[in-house]
Amino acid sequence: MTEISVPAMSLVVLVGVSGSGKSTFARKHFLPTQVISSDFCRGLVSDDENDQESTPDAFDVLHYIVGTRLRRGLLTVVDATNVQWEARKKLVELAKSHDVLVDAIVLDVPEEVAVARNALRPDRDFGSHVIVRQRKDLRRSLSKISRDGFRRVHVLRGEAIDDATITYEKAWTDRRELTGPFDLIGDVHGCRAELESLLIALGWELRRDDAGRPVGAAHPEGRTAVFVGDLVDRGPDSPGVLRLVMGMVAAGTALCVSGNHEQKLVRALDGRKVSVTHGLERSLEQLAAEPEEFREAARTFMDGLISHYQLDGGKLVVAHAGLKEAYHGRASRRVRSFALYGDTTGETDEYGLPVRYPWARDYRGRAMVVYGHTPIPEPEWVNNTLCVDTGCVFGGRLTALRYPSRELVSVPAERVWYEPARPLAPSTVRDPGVLDIGDVDGTRYVETRTGGKVKIREENSAAALEIMSRFAVDPRWLVYLPPTMAPPATSPLDGYLEHPAEAFEEFASFGVTEVVCEEKHMGSRAIAVLARTPEAAAARFGVVDGTCGTVHTRTGRPFFGDPALTEGLVARLREAVSDAGLWQSLGTEWIVLDCELLPWSAKAEGLIREQYASVGAAARAALPDAVALLEAAAARGLDVEGPLARTRRRASNAALFRDAYARYCGPVSGLDGIRLAPFQILAVEGRATAAEEPHSWHLETLARLSSDVITPTRHVFVSLDSEESRAEATAWWTALTGAGGEGMVVKPVHPGPGRVQPGVKVRGREYLRIIYGPDYTESIDVLRSRFLGKKRSLALREHALGLESLARLAEGEPLWRVHEPVFAVLALESEPVDPRL
């Protein structure tokens, strides 16, 4: 039995003449979707698998499919004769361009067998001379095929073809089965003393040899150390560092990836010609003093270090100079080069050092990438990547990142061990706060923790892009957009479209026992993002212009044209939060509040004038005349009784309509007259409170805010089991709306799972005139047939997206990840639904 071992993620190229049994072999060993055959592709482009004329187009298609599969990281098998060098070369190049390994499996069968097989296939009417020619090509190839660039060429002959089994080799970089926890340690550069101190600070126990030298370490909690490379050079004791790390790696308590310095040191030890600079001289000197066997062991260790590791199910990637997403888990020279040296722009800076390409700035991968290589004063997260090289050897610090807790631990350098070629400067690779079009455009599926994948259609993304880019606040402040909310099922009660009874019934039917009814303030929805200090704003939101927050609308727009007014409002709100002691009690330096900004006219005056007041003005001008003329006609004995009665009713409806909007208008001058009614704490440091805390907590906590600018949110709790409790709340709603209130929002007190609406709005009878028109009360029966399904489904999807953006914010995910669901809410809001719901 012949065992053929191929890389688990690779391109496998089958080689053999027509009739050699490639397709049968492929069918036996691989999934049908993994095998791309030239016959199949010929069929795709010509409807005839044997149409030789279509071969060039067929191979274009084949290469495209293979390339796409490789880009997506799928094992792929090419079933074509591949007896010619040119054909194989193209496939090898294709694999290399996707940084995957490529193996060849040659099926070498005797000519007569192949001819006989083809003779049995009526569709293959080409003569045996074709096979003879292919055979010749193959013979010629076999002598040189090992130079084609295949990782390995497996040649099968005779029975071995039938007996062969395929096994898969995991990539060396693939250590996804290791889940940590990890301590990821930055560039040590021979700073053995600092490494000892750091390990001790991290809780490691060192093992020492007779001479007292540390030769290993273990962590009582079973943590694993991961070194990002550059253990050697520049520092005082590179052999000491190697001894310790080699011991840890050998004992399985540490992993280590290669740094560029290890690479060069190995070359130097091998006697290759390298320039002895950048501290290499010190390592060579120090190693010269070591015994030969240690030197040899160190050389072997360093030579065997690999470019990067994928850890924890692929969620963590460690590489010395970082690694872009397309290279994770891949193997090629350029992957290794990127991992060891980083990507450079080809330019050099004023100190003659290479200018590095800021790959982290464009990084969009889901895996956290931890790396070193470039010394910086302070580690800074950039798109879920972190450089932990804090220049210990240059007199900085030696830093470790604890994973998964993201905690940073560091010890200072004992002294400057080596003068840096350029001063340690803050990284130029900062999160620039600028998003990429690829973060938002096109048809998208946004993964949410509470609502599965949410699809966003391209057309809606386009509409949202326009609003977002022309009007929205800085995306760093825009961490949440509120979801839409559905009304309850339509009330059968005479004169009502909406009534609390249906809302209570809906939640009760989902098994909810306790709901809260919150007054629905008639204003404009507002999200307030507040930081305690400019420093907190910089640390959490990356906003460094000194502002401490914003207040924006449902579409992410600032409320005021004048930034000074926004700043003024933010200042008042921060003061209110400070006065209530919320920073301390919530343990946070920032807070996001869901609010209603009052009065409605503050933001919507233009809309009120254009749409609502205009209707009122026209109605109040037209209807009295109409009544007068109809009355005169009636006085003449004409039969206008019906129209007259209707027109009189319309006149009174128009007056009620006018009162309905006027109630929500108030004088505003600057910030005077502006009030904010917060009703939920969306997120604070480390917590998406919207998803975690019951509404009772939100309302209680917010009740502590006391300020001129704050309006409380009146509310009642309802036990749905109690008819009495329901009746009380209904009476409360009736009184509220009777006094001109918009209505109320009914929410389950505890955040509910799955398909339960997060809240439903029950709007008052008079308020609905603004929505359904002045005369809607005349035709309520027609209006009752309204379709809630789409609105309810939208509400759930947007709610899931809202919680998702908050969770991503609270967990410290990068800007583009927070922006994605925020943008998606805006996109969904442009879906066509009945706007009256």
Partner: protein, 530 residues
């Protein structure tokens, strides 16, 4: 019957004092002692006589609008579903709009044709008429009502209606109470109303039927050609347009409590002057209309944008208008033309072969660049889907010859999001774009253009705010969507900072006539990468 949602009452009253006044019934073909109903697509029209004596007779046309049917007819028409609240809560049930005009045309069809077998002499000559419309939407104010009706022999009383008595600061509504009196032939009076009511309303939501030009010509026979405001009347009559923005955009505007028009992107959409060719000039005999002109006119009226020389402009800024309208200087050219030429001249000097117009609007510059084969690759980018649709139409994208089409790329993109598609051009143009970006978002634009796309040349034009004092009627900034306008010093300060940050050098050019004191109307910076 409650299952028909009927609401509102749109009203028009016509009175005469020409004795015997009750002859009005003959003229209108409606008996003064009856109440008559006429079904309309959007409700019911009713004619009745509140008074009918020999001294004075009044016919009232009252329209009860069926709100539900109104909303449905909109969504089911050829236009895309317009899911905005405006279709449910609007003034149509109360205000004298095109619906009243349509009802009037239908109910008084015979009268409008001037036919009256019972009283032919009366129908042929002027009678004393008084017409009252209690709520007439009048965009342009009471003054416009006078300008339109007075030349036709009416005495006009147009009283503005307050928006809301309780909020005096809101001022007047767009409605007036209109009272017309005069000695006018009844058929003419009806035709005046038929044409001028929608003209005064100038509403956005309306559908132009293909035969609208014919209708205008018929109804305007004998008076429109000699009307001093015929240009405006024709333009508005044919220019009533569908909502231009997509439904999705409208939804988002409403969501943010914004008026949709306020958010509409600054894309020029000046309608052309169809009057010049579609209508006979005063004194010209007959009303012959060139069929081809007709089609063109309609396409433009229906399709928002004009292709004529007059329409080429970009954002239609107030400044441009003020400039273009400078009387007395016959050779003075519109600023937007000068700006385009200046940009192209600057591009030519840089020997750029590929150019990307960032914020291309309706594609005027892109069109000019395509005309020059030296530009082998031209791209237009705008964030507004509507602007791109207008550009595709202006550039006749679907009919463009292949060789030219291959040089052009047109796509949606936002200047605050980095975008690989922006890279790879010799030059980028930001013509009248930066001032549409909120100042706090400018650094993002800078990074996207100068930092990420990094073309060899970037050309930026923006208004010179110092020049604004030269615009007589300008109050505030040149366009409502401008977030700022810079003085020359402010522009220079910005440009220097950008240069320092991203490694460019800048040279400044004036665009338009340079004023010795306040400089040119437009300032241009040509940025070259170091």
């Amino acid at each position: 019957m409650v299952n028909r949602e009927r609401s509102g009452s749109v009203l028009l009253a016509i009175s005469t004092t020409t004795r015997p006044a009750t002859d009005l019934g003959f003229l209108l073909h409606k008996h003064p002692d009856r109440v008559q109903e006429f079904a309309q697509s959007f409700g019911v029209a009713r004619v009745f006589y509140p008074e009918a004596t020999a001294e004075r007779c009044t016919a009232a046309l009252m329209l009860e609008v069926d709100g539900v049917r109104l909303a449905r007819s909109r969504t089911s028409s050829s236009s895309p579903a317009d899911f905005s609240l405006g279709q449910y809560v609007n003034d149509r049930p109360y205000a004298a709009s095109s619906m009243l005009a349509v009802a009037l045309a239908d109910v008084f069809r015979t009268a409008r044709a001037g036919i009256c077998k019972a009283r032919p002499e009366l129908a042929a000559g002027p009678i004393d008429l008084a017409i009252t419309i209690p709520a007439l939407p009048c965009r342009g104010g009471a003054e416009l009502a006078r300008l339109l009706f007075e030349p036709l022999g009416w005495r006009v009383e147009a009283t503005p209606i307050r928006l809301d008595e309780e909020f005096p600061a809101w001022g007047d509504s767009r409605y007036v109470r209109l009272a017309l009196t005069g000695s006018v032939r009844l058929a003419d009076a009806l035709n005046h109303l038929y044409v001028l009511l929608p003209v005064l309303d100038d509403a956005k939501h309306y559908w132009i039927a293909p035969d609208e030009v014919d209708k205008l010509i018929r109804a305007g026979e004998g008076w429109l050609a000699s009307h001093p405001e015929r240009g405006r009347i024709t333009r508005r009559y044919l220019g009533r347009r569908r909502a231009l923005t997509g439904a999705a955009f409208a939804r988002l505007a409403e969501l943010g409590d914004d008026v949709e028009e306020d958010l509409e992107p600054p894309v020029e959409e000046e309608p052309i002057e169809p009057s010049a060719r579609a209508l006979p000039e005063p004194g010209e005999a007959g009303a012959e209309v060139d069929a081809e002109v007709d089609v063109e006119t309609l396409a433009e009226a229906d399709g928002e944008i004009a292709e004529g020389a007059d329409s080429i402009g970009d954002t239609g800024d107030a400044g441009d208008a003020a400039d273009a309208g400078d009387a007395g200087d016959a050779v003075k050219r519109p600023l937007n033309h000068l700006r385009g030429e200046a940009v192209i001249a600057a591009l030519a000097e840089t020997h750029a072969r590929s150019v990307i117009d960032l914020g291309c609007g309706s594609g005027r510059l892109v069109g000019e660049l395509l005309k020059n084969p030296a530009f082998t690759k031209v791209a237009g980018v705008d964030v507004s889907a509507r602007a791109l649709a207008l550009a595709a139409r202006r550039l006749k994208l679907d009919r463009m010859p292949e060789a030219r089409r291959e040089r052009l790329t047109l796509f949606q993109g936002a200047l605050t999001y980095t975008d690989d598609r922006f890279a790879g051009y010799d030059a980028a143009v930001l013509m009248e774009v930066v001032e549409h970006v909120d100042p706090p978002r400018l650094p993002a634009l800078e990074r996207v253009v100068f930092g990420a796309a990094r073309p060899g040349v970037v050309i930026v034009t923006t208004p010179n705010s110092e020049y604004n004092v030269r615009y007589e009627f300008l109050d505030g900034m040149r366009h409502p969507d401008h977030r700022f306008e810079w003085t020359r010093a402010e522009f220079a300060a910005w440009a220097e900072r950008v240069c320092g940050e991203y490694g460019y050098r800048v040279a400044y050019r004036p665009v338009g006539d340079e004023d010795p004191e306040v400089g040119p109307p437009t300032q241009m910076g040509v940025f070259n990468r170091d």
